[in-house]
Symmetry: D3
Subunit: 299 residues, 6 copies
């Protein structure tokens, strides 16, 4: 057989290898927290959206939750706003909240646009639509830091209804309190709360780190699959660094509330989502129940 044909056959084999994964997650909900570098770099952005769109087309039910931190900072500067601080913490005052909502809205629709350009039905909403995300004011060590909210309820029916109508929902993390005041929400928290409320099969965080390490100083100790008990042990032993701590806690909460697997992925690797889901290469760290079967066999 000639060489060019072999190339095509190899392609076919790749598709066939995906078969059991497609089979396993058919009609399952996957919440993807999208942020960090993968959101800034246009090429990576396109790769992420391709991945999620493919997941949708082969039968999964993905939901994207995105942040927009860097873009917001850029606009705060552009408009010439003076950031306010309380006890060293940035305060989300009314003007900041207004601008943040505008920027997140812009990011939201740009993702919708990308998904639509790939021929899949997307809808961009915030936590205001259908009052998806109810919040209450969050305090930082007792200090008022403005319109920063903590989620008290997820109106999951909104997302079920949109999924039923075959939309790929793209959610920006803004919520309403009981007085219908607007609040900003941490995107990780929003993704986690939505995954829990919908008993998602998977929750994937696209981050700027490679995953969880046994020894943070040794790049060879990346953990492919991490049962919750081991994760808690690592946290107790002080092995888990600053920014990772709340994220890992979020992961454990998700697992304990019915999500099957939480993936911490390196969003800087193109197609990290597909690689994690459709191959036996664990490219990040998957948090799972202690009793769950493990998939990855290394290379």
């Amino acid at each position: 057989m000639e060489k060019s044909m072999q190339k095509y056959l190899d392609k076919a084999e790749v598709l066939i290898e995906a078969l059991p994964y497609i089979q396993r997650f058919n009609r399952k909900i996957i919440v993807v927290k999208y942020g960090g570098s993968a959101m800034v770099d246009e090429t990576l952005k396109e790769r992420v959206i391709q991945d999620v769109t493919l997941l949708k087309l082969v039968g999964f039910k993905p939901i994207i939750v995105h942040g927009g931190g860097k873009e917001i900072s850029k606009w705060v500067g552009k408009v010439g706003m003076e950031p306010e601080f309380v006890n060293g913490l940035r305060v989300t005052d009314e003007a900041t909240m207004e601008l943040a909502e505008m920027v997140l809205g812009k990011v939201n629709k740009s993702l919708v646009q990308l998904v639509e350009s790939l021929g899949v039905r997307a809808i961009g909403i915030s936590g205001k639509d259908g009052k998806l995300l109810s919040v209450e004011k969050k305090y930082a060590d007792g200090e008022d830091i403005g319109f920063v909210g903590e989620i008290t309820h997820v109106n999951a029916d909104i997302l079920y209804d949109l999924l039923e109508k075959d939309f790929l929902p793209i959610v920006c993390p803004i919520g309403l309190d009981d007085a219908y005041q607007t609040y900003n929400i941490n995107a990780d928290d929003a993704a986690c709360a939505i995954a829990r409320a919908m008993k998602a099969e998977k929750l994937a965080f696209l981050t700027d780190i490679e995953g969880v390490y046994k020894d943070p100083d040794d790049p060879d100790t990346l953990i492919s699959e991490l049962p919750v008990t081991e994760a808690e042990a690592l946290m107790n032993q002080g092995y888990i660094g600053g920014g990772m701590l709340p994220k890992l806690q979020n992961c454990i909460d998700a697992i304990e509330n019915g999500v099957s697997r939480v993936h911490i992925l390196d969003g800087r690797i193109p197609h990290c989502l597909l690689l994690e889901i459709f191959t036996n290469k664990g490219i990040g760290t998957a948090i799972l129940n202690d009793t769950d079967e493990r998939y990855y066999q290394g290379e």
Copy 2:
């Protein structure tokens, strides 16, 4: 019967008077173009949203299409952008388009918020979501005025699906061309196109004028009900002033494409929507087919 009781009985009578109107428009689609003063004044804004929410609750299927012109201008100044002109026409360059989308998004979600606070399920979308509004570039007398689009297709299924899931859709007039580029759309045109695509029962424009006059100089000649043929005659006779001309043309197009009635209402009158729909007081001008039955009996 004591006086206070009489007051209550009067209230009951008002509700009962609404009965035939509720009956007549049950499950009918009403597209409301929301703009002008009614959008700037907070009290009027609340009244409009109350009206639309009531229409929803008593069984209509309202869809709001809104603009945001004044708010956009405010932000253009805030950001310190220099407007560009071609042949005296303002140009929507990329930066303006980006800002316009952000502002319209903000307005959109503020309306969602108001509707939700009244206990009704709202969803705010733009013409990008589900590729609701497809456009092509619009030229002004052959001149390129940037990202200003003309609607070529309305994907009505998106709105039918949202209505079926009991959402009150709130649409901002932004569209995508075949290359998935973002375009601004005239809100009147968007409302008209949506009403036509969905064969809406009613299309209502909330404007800053009182309606159409037989004699623009005589405030006593406001026309309550204007059949298309008469409307065309008025236009031919030159009786219709500048800004009203394209609007009236839009109205006639809508009627000729299956919309039953188009209402030009004075958005400065509180509850103008309810007054027009639930009472026999024609407070604006209704365009209708020549053969349609007339409702209003004056006072």
Copy 3:
């Protein structure tokens, strides 16, 4: 603003005031026991039917249960029948039962006719249709009083099916025993049994009294909202007069079996139903759970 416009604006405000009530009871079931003066006086009759029809149109699911006592008596005379008595109690013998069924049927269809004339889909049934009401023979202190039945089972599916097909069901209180023999049923009991079987949100009795008084001799002591425990206390204290006693017992039974509120209304006040439901004027007495929130704020 001119005076006539003000009148219209006031009307709009009344509609808007109804908004939260419409919102609160959307798609909830309301069983209305219709009888007494409100059924004899043609004007009141029309008002009641307008009220129920409006409730239907704005999204409630009303069910009417009616009696026909006075009309039956009139026909007993007309036909020249001799009433039979046992221990002083009127006996429903076969001939009386036959006539009662005929009269109740006539009343039933006259209500259907009124509702239909307002453009709403009505269906008039008795407890025989779909065997809605199963009964067993009822004895008065051990004495046989003929074909008077006590409800043993409500086939709620019949009413759910009719509501699903958007009918307003109008029920006359006739039932069948296990041998498929016809029995007359007390209309209050029928309304109560149906409300219980369907876990109705509300059960409203249109009566010829103003409500429950703390002191029956003092017209200023009408109780707007009466929690069950207080109602039982009143009954135990002997404050509740003859005819009211079984009615109040019925109300308490309904509340204890899942109905949220039972309203004793004065059917002689026009639109008493609308007034009770759509305004903060408690015009009768509402029986409710001890822990339920109270609505009425007096005037």
Copy 4:
């Protein structure tokens, strides 16, 4: 094989013989006009109801339309009303109409009761329910004969909805005009109009005659199957007697409007419906299209 077993085997064979008929009419609509002797004799009545109930249970969708002439006359006497006449025609004045509605309602519910006792879901309605039957005033040779109506519209959705909810609808021939006034309708006309509106597979008249004869004086000339063209010829030739003439005209109208077969049956023969439908014995006369296949092979 012993004799008693043979008896049972014979029974099984009868059931098996019915198989092709059950198969052929599965889910088809059959309108049965029920009247005459079959309605007076209690044993025949039970037989008819058994037949219709069986049709329902084996998969047909029967609808009963009944009259009540003799019972009405009985009650007119009982109440002591004086019949009024115009040009020799009995007039249905308001009092007569009221009584007729009461009697027909009673008959209606007695049929419901019988069907329910056989374990099948029945619902008794008149043409008022859901405004099933719209009428206009009928004149007899220009003379006002009171509240006698001619059907102008059948609201077939009402019956489709009830059939979908698995009810066996039992209809009494009373209608409403545009002013919602009550009118009496000829039961034959009502059955025919309903069968036409629903494109029924079959329309069966239970009558007090044996069917149509070629020669009315020769009992051996009963016609089993009569194509419309032949029926019209018989009528033109004057072979068809008085009462049969309008009935036959009704039959022809039904066939020409989409009903497949109209059966004129002798209601005095027990189980005439089953015999006509489930055996090859044509016991009455079936009117059919000229091109339709014939079933009956005589004995």
Copy 5:
């Protein structure tokens, strides 16, 4: 009335007698194990299929499970295969399994053909389709007897889905183990497992015996209705002969797992199914719960 008419009336009466039985089992599932003489004799075969088809047409949901033992033996000879034995037990080696599947497939489609010829929608499947029957290898006293399987799971959804689409499923008893290897299954076991998994109303075995006898030597002691406790007593007392023992155990298991009645019928009697179900003649033995009502009244 003439004699021929009487014959027809008798027929009608038979149909009417079936009414309560049709009513009682409407939409209930009946699993029919079809085998033995009733499968060899072409006339009996036709009778059985007529019976099952009639059950389907009058509203039951029958499922046929069939064997094919004699036909398999015939083909083993035809192909010239040498049967293998282990400890005196016939072994189902690969070649035998292949042939058995071919023969059962042929029998299966011949039944489909018969049902279709009666105008009813049939579908013939094996336990492979939709992995209806999962099995594990069965050993005979520890000896390997080849591809003989024991059912470990019934995928009832497959049958529910086919019933919902109005098919009459015809199942041949072949299953798959976890490695997707083909196994033969005892048809009685398959019928029993399916009836249990679907909580069938009835399970009927068509056999070559008359039923269960109190005294196997006295033909007058056939037991019409046998509560499980009595059945167990009979078994313990040693009254139940060889082949009947496992069958009776199967029956008891079925009853204890939610099947209401299990019928052991003599398939050599034509229409034995109809006779058992539609008449009060218990022609075989029905196993039932101790507390269930008995039907048969003898002759």
Copy 6:
């Protein structure tokens, strides 16, 4: 980036490349005629089933139609049957038909088994089930060649119902005539008839040839995309060889009856189905409408 990671990224790219193809054919019906070498070679067989299963999992609605010629011949020998001939044509007598049905049934269930082992719901039927394929006797130049049928009707509802219940239908080409006699059908004809009846998006023939050549003697002239008009021209010019002629005629018929594309594929190339559908490599010949867009761009 290390080499092993690159390998994974390449895999991801392959999946992403499939995205537009998956998108384009989502929920479309694809009829696959499966036969020839691809059915004999176990490895090729597995590849074909993998391909079809993948198509199913990513949202297509495949239907397999298979033959079994070589296997039938093998069994004819095994059983020792003497083939009969008429005018040199092999006759399908009753015994051959019986055996053919058995063999086709075996092949059918073996395919079911393979699909099920990949975790997808399969159902194996013949044209008898639900009377999917109605036939009439086919004559060869007027000669009776036994039970060989020509399709007169496809009962497409059967397949729609099975697809709706998420089955992958596997059909063997056996049909029934009006007398419910069994007939053998050419598998190509069956596939074509089914594709036409269901207006399939695609019909793919797995054959033992490479496709259609412009010049049969020049292997470099394989035609990737062949509009019908050109196909007809080739046939008229005598360029198309013996066996290909009826197949090509079948293809043209399919296109002219609503199938969008017919693919003649070389079943000897592993994954030929995936290659044809998911890559821009046209590995066989696609017949299409003259006006349709072409896909393949060569290599």
